[in-house]
Symmetry: C2
Subunit: 143 residues, 2 copies
DNA sequence: TTCGCTTCCGACCAAAGGACGGTTGCACCG
DNA sequence: CGGTGCAACCGTCCTTTGGTCGGAAGCGAA
């Protein structure tokens, strides 16, 4: 699916305010409601717009985050991915090239909870080496 | 602002589908439309819900991302942060504890662009050691 | 030119939403 | 104990919004 400028306008507006009405959206991009509605549902059907998410303020600013830098005994390691996915604390897992094999981002309420996750992962089969880097501060964060 | 279980239900539902109608939302949490609407606007006013965003599929699957794992000669290193912030390719910078000092996430159109960023950062004053981990795949990604 | 396709518009009618009055439950206090 | 204020809820009224349709316009291919 290729997007024209109107489609990109729609995406840009919805990226900032996903609950805007079709009418207001139509006015912004200077099209009729029906045409806008049709374009929108096409963008949804084609998968360009994957969904709409509420942006929730972190209820607990005391959350502790860390990167776990993992070397595996061999790759790929599907069972470990299942293990990781089972932890709600695991926010992101990326396969990477180089010395490391996986970079895992975790987030927990307490240092204790973080350690528990870390230990459970460390003793999982296939993990050769695991380094924990606690995030002290997010210096830069962009969309 | 403290949230009860209904509020958390609302948040959970909207986090997955921010364009759901108030009526459908009300039905899901078993409250009237008006009560649901009132709770929702309170959540918005109080800042618990910061906004609503369309989840846009990456139009360019050819984007290359990497983590740069950085050790500094000394910390903190404010000038380096300014340098990093100047690159649009730099998506996130976290100060971490342990062996490493900074974990930088970068995203570029081409491997060449990525390398340029990497090199520019590597020769910046204060960088003691820099390891690049190209992201091969994002295995898990959560809100 | 004529066909087929896409995109647009306006109109219709059903669905959704804002606003309001009234009820209930509960904490507070004289 | 009874009264008062408050917060949350409900259902209803009426406006706004949205999905859908038929028809028009633009455009490329046959």
């Amino acid at each position: 699916m290729d997007l024209d400028s109107k489609d990109r306008e729609i995406i840009g507006i919805l990226a900032k305010d996903a609950r805007i009405s079709i009418k207001a959206l139509a006015a912004k991009i200077d099209l009729s409601r029906s045409a806008t509605s049709e374009r929108l549902s096409k963008l949804e059907r084609s998968g360009v717009i994957r969904g709409y998410r509420a942006d929730i303020a972190s209820q607990d600013p005391a959350l502790i985050s860390a990167f776990l830098l993992i070397r595996l005994e061999r790759t790929p390691m599907h069972s470990l991915l299942d293990t990781l996915a089972a932890f709600p604390a695991v926010k992101r897992v990326s396969s990477v090239s180089g010395e490391l094999d996986l970079i895992v981002e975790v987030e927990a309420q307490t240092m204790e909870a973080l350690n528990t996750v870390r230990d459970r992962i460390a003793v999982s089969g296939g993990v050769c080496d695991l380094t924990t880097s606690i995030i002290l501060r997010d210096e830069i964060q962009r969309a």
